[in-house]
Symmetry: C2
Subunit: 131 residues, 2 copies
C-alpha cells in the first residue's frame, strides 16, 4: 500500500472555496490506496461478518440456527444475507443435509480459516483495550 505517491509538490485539491478533492485526486490517475485491503474491509467490515467468521472459527461446522444463537443480536434476515455473501466470496461452504426440516451446515473454507489470525488479533486488541 501507499504506492509511490511521494509528493514533492503538495499539489492539487481545490481551486476555490472547496472543490472536489475526491474527483481531483481520483482524476489524477492515482490508484485507490490499496484495492485489496479495501475489498477485504468491504467484506469482513460489513456488519456482523466478523462475528460470524469468529464463531465459525471456534466451532467447525454450524447450522443456521446455531449461528443465530451464537450471535443473538443478529437477525435472520441479515444472517441469511451475510451467509450468501460469504459463500459467494468463497469464505464459507454450505452443505444441505437431507432430512425433514431442512438442515444446512456452514463451514469455513481454507480461505475462511486463513482469516483466523486477523480475527484473533482483533479479539486480542478488543480484550485489551475495550471495556
Amino acid at each position: 500500500m501507499a504506492p509511490a505517491e511521494d509528493g514533492p509538490q503538495p499539489a492539487p485539491r481545490s481551486s476555490s472555496g472547496r472543490a472536489k478533492r475526491t474527483l481531483v485526486a481520483a482524476g489524477a490517475g492515482r490508484p485507490p490506496c490499496c484495492p485489496k485491503y479495501h475489498k477485504a474491509v468491504e467484506l469482513i467490515g460489513r456488519r456482523w461478518t466478523g462475528a460470524i467468521v469468529s464463531v465459525l472459527i471456534k466451532r467447525q461446522a454450524m447450522r443456521f440456527g446455531e449461528i443465530a444463537e451464537a450471535v443473538p443480536e443478529l437477525s435472520d434476515r441479515l444472517l441469511s444475507e451475510r451467509m450468501k455473501e460469504l459463500e459467494r466470496y468463497g469464505v464459507v461452504a454450505r452443505n444441505v443435509r437431507p432430512g425433514r426440516p431442512t438442515r444446512v451446515e456452514y463451514e469455513l473454507t481454507q480461505m475462511g480459516r486463513d482469516l483466523a489470525p486477523a480475527v484473533h488479533e482483533l479479539e486480542r486488541w478488543a480484550r485489551r483495550w475495550l471495556t
Copy 2:
C-alpha cells in the same frame, strides 16, 4: 437492552410459523456472544476506519488533507466523522497547530498503534486471497 421481559422459561424461539428469535434469545438473559469483539468490529468495521488506521500506522502523524490524499475515495465528510469517532474511542489523538490556515495533525495513540497486528494480518489475507 433487553429491558424487563424476563421469561423464566427458556422458551426458545417460535411458537408457530416463526416468532421473534432475536428477542427471545436476548430476553433469555444470554449475553451477546462477545461484547468486546463486537464493539471492536463496530469500530474498525465501519467504512474507511480500517483504511484510515492503516495509513496512520505507516506514517506517524498526518494532517487532515494528507489522510484525504492517501485514501482518495474517502470524502471529507466521512473522514471528518470517522476521525471524530476514532478520537472519541481513544484510537487517535488530535493536535491543532497554531497558525492560519488551521493545521490539524492526527496520530495514533498506543491503543491505535496496537491495532497494527490486526491490520497487518488482514492485509496479508487480502493480498493472499483477493484479486
